[in-house]
């Protein structure tokens, strides 16, 4: 039986179902209570579960993450919301020095099952600081699990898995996809750490996640006109990276492009390139290229179309994959 929801609703449903099944799950943050979150993801939770299970905190992100650490130490499973990507930065020390390290510091004695939800990326015409893609900072921090849904179905399934994870999860929500509707089966749960082939193809692999999954599927369609049969792999889990699925695809196609919104320099895409280059060296017909955000601070609304990966830019990049050698 399938349900039709948009991504925000799917996340909301995941929170509801998790809170229903597990009384230790609590949700808090800025405006997540009666208001239901600026993206409506926590709508109705306070009403349904009461003020003790879903509540507004004072306005301080380090405090939010830091108190969540203490709650997790005491056996709760906090799910906290950072209102926008750039507003998670005040919590950076708590995330890197504590959330990521507590289990290791205590030789496994203290686990921190908690989820930090971070809406990320651009494409919604937001003002400054409302369009950052911050995933690289977290993926570079050992101890954190970083996942991001590219589809509405995954939003539900990954958030359920993140909440059930014994480890802290940075759950990145592609904010430009909050309103994408889809029919899906709530009982379908894939393993959280595995990438998935969204579209099969034989000529070139697009490696993408979050908002660029949709962009890459559109690109794949447009690419048929150019005669390219494109495979699209949705990474889903950024840390750990599912090298098996990724490498299987690239070994098959021999060409790959990583596509993400985040600025490119020293960004997550570089890891994907480095991993693929190392493990698929003899299969590669061309260097693994990246289409990412420009290496500039996230631009204002009027210019964001140039910042975000779009099918034309991806096709241009595919065109550079040394087809002449074919």
């Amino acid at each position: 039986m399938t349900t039709q929801l948009n991504m925000a609703q799917a996340l909301n449903r995941a929170l509801k179902d998790a809170m229903t099944e597990d009384p230790s799950v609590v949700v808090f943050g800025e405006d997540v209570g009666p208001y239901g979150g600026v993206f409506t993801v926590t709508e109705g939770l306070t009403k349904q579960f009461g003020e003790d299970r879903c509540f507004d905190s004072p306005l301080a992100e380090s405090g939010i993450v830091g108190t969540a650490v203490g709650m997790a130490m005491y056996g709760l499973r906090p799910v906290v919301e950072m209102q926008f990507d750039a507003f998670a930065y005040p919590a950076f020390e708590q995330i890197t020095s504590h959330v990521a390290k507590m289990r290791n510091r205590t030789r496994g004695k203290v686990a921190l099952p908690m989820v930090i939800r971070i809406p990320y990326g651009g494409g919604i015409g937001g003002v400054e600081h409302h369009g950052d893609s911050s995933e690289t900072y977290y993926t570079h921090t050992p101890g954190l699990t970083v996942v991001t849904p590219g589809t509405t179905a995954d939003a539900y399934s990954l958030l359920r898995s993140a909440i059930e994870s014994p480890d802290p999860v940075i759950f990145m929500e592609p904010k430009s996809r909050y309103w994408s509707r889809a029919d899906f089966d709530l009982t379908q749960r894939d393993p959280m750490n595995r990438a998935i082939v969204r579209k099969h193809g034989k000529d070139v692999t697009l490696l993408c996640y979050g908002s660029t999954v949709q962009t890459c599927l559109e690109t794949a369609e447009a690419a048929t006109e150019e005669g390219w049969d494109v495979e699209v792999v949705d990474l889903r889990s950024l840390s750990p990276l599912d090298e098996e699925t990724v490498c299987a695809s690239v070994r098959k196609t021999g060409r790959a492009v990583v596509v993400h919104e985040s600025s490119m320099f020293s960004g997550y895409g570089a890891e994907v390139v480095a991993t693929v280059s190392e493990h698929c060296f003899h299969w590669l017909e061309a260097p693994v290229l990246r289409v990412g955000g420009l290496d500039v601070p996230y631009p204002p609304k009027d210019l964001e179309e140039h910042q975000l990966p779009h099918p034309d830019r991806i096709l241009d990049t595919i065109a550079r994959l040394q087809w002449e050698d074919k």
């Binding site: 208001y35 420009l294 500039v296 204002p300």
Partner: protein, 350 residues
């Protein structure tokens, strides 16, 4: 026995906000001179009109978003007019009225919210820092700038705005503390509009008043009726004068209310009763000045019309920033990689 104040070495803020003009427009204390009162009135009326126009522009899709400050004019105008020429102002996203009062041209003040660029004016031209969105993060900037001015021997004070919600952030605390320890010439003006989006003050703090936070930093805190421009002006001016004279920083809390939604895209019915704002409408800062001065907004009709039509005209102009600029200001000189990306974009757009 010494009084608590003497023991503390600082004045304790009063629980009742300082008021010079009451809700009915009656003087309740020593008022600034008539000319100041008229400037306050005029700037509030213009500010309100600007604010309304900005909200209207969102409805026409001409502004991406606008956080109205209707009802908060006494804070923004009163505090800003207290600044001396060489002083600096550090505004937030909500403080367009303060910026316009300081002399930033309305269309430049709206750049951030219009979405052409992140900030649209030359901060040095008006001594107005770029509007700040990450809450409370401009407070340390204000302290640093004030300290630098003092180190250089300049006679400068700095006014920085923050909201009630923003006081919960670590940066607010660090800024308060640095300012006190360095004796920096800063006035922290907290516009306590009692809401941080949907979160009421009661979920933000248990402090007796936000001005009481000053005690923990060893500086004076003043709790002011934030809908009384005369009180805001007078208290802020004293605090700025004190700062310039080497007396150190202060906190001024203006108690007011966010009558409108957080921004045009907010829906207050999700978290508060429409009736909650009613008592605050009765405390309107402009209405009480109308009565105090026996004037109404009409006296500025021409000026308002000029401002409004100038803004309309400006908003009709294409202010689109050329995509080349994406790469020009990241560093003083674009890096090779930025030049390559600029070339790619040029080609895409060719």
């Amino acid at each position: 026995m010494k009084s608590t104040e003497e023991l503390l070495g600082v004045d304790l803020p009063s629980m009742d906000p300082i008021q010079l003009v009451d809700e009915h427009g009656m003087a309740a204390g020593t008022l600034p001179d008539q000319q100041v009162l008229r400037s306050l009135h005029r700037a509030m009326v213009l500010g309100r009109r600007f604010d309304r126009q900005a909200t209207a522009l969102t409805k026409q899709g001409r502004l991406a978003v606008y956080p109205s400050s209707a009802g908060q004019e006494a804070c923004q105008v009163g505090a800003t007019l207290a600044l001396a020429q060489d002083d600096w102002l550090f505004p937030t996203y909500r403080d367009c009225v303060a910026m316009v009062t300081r002399g930033v041209p309305p269309v430049e003040a709206l750049t951030l919210l219009r979405g052409n660029w992140h900030s649209g004016y030359d901060p040095y031209a008006y001594r107005v820092a770029p509007q700040c969105t990450p809450l409370s993060t401009s407070a340390p900037h204000a302290v640093g700038l004030a300290h630098a001015a003092r180190l250089k021997g300049d006679n400068v004070a700095v006014l920085v705005f923050m909201g009630d919600g923003a006081t919960s952030e670590g940066d607010a605390h660090e800024a308060f503390n640095f300012a006190a320890v360095w004796n920096a010439p800063v006035v922290f003006f907290i516009q306590n509009n009692q809401w941080a989006i949907s979160v009421p003050l009661s979920k933000q703090t248990k402090a007796p008043t936000l001005a009481h936070k000053a005690i923990g930093y060893g500086m004076p805190g003043h709790h002011v009726d934030g809908n009384d421009a005369a009180a805001v002006y007078t208290v802020t001016k004293q605090a700025l004068d004190r700062a310039r004279a080497g007396g150190g920083p202060s906190i001024v809390e203006g108690l007011t209310y966010r009558i409108d939604p957080h921004t045009n895209s907010d829906d207050t019915s999700r978290y508060r009763d429409a009736a909650d704002a009613e008592p605050w409408r009765a405390k309107d800062p402009i209405a009480r000045f109308d009565r105090l001065l026996g004037l109404d907004a009409d006296v500025y009709a021409d000026e308002i019309e000029r401002m409004a039509s100038a803004l309309r005209a400006e908003m009709n102009k294409d202010a689109h920033v050329h995509p080349d600029e994406l790469f020009e200001h990241v560093y003083a000189t674009p890096t090779p990689r930025l030049r390559a990306q600029a070339a790619m974009l040029k080609e895409e757009l060719a």
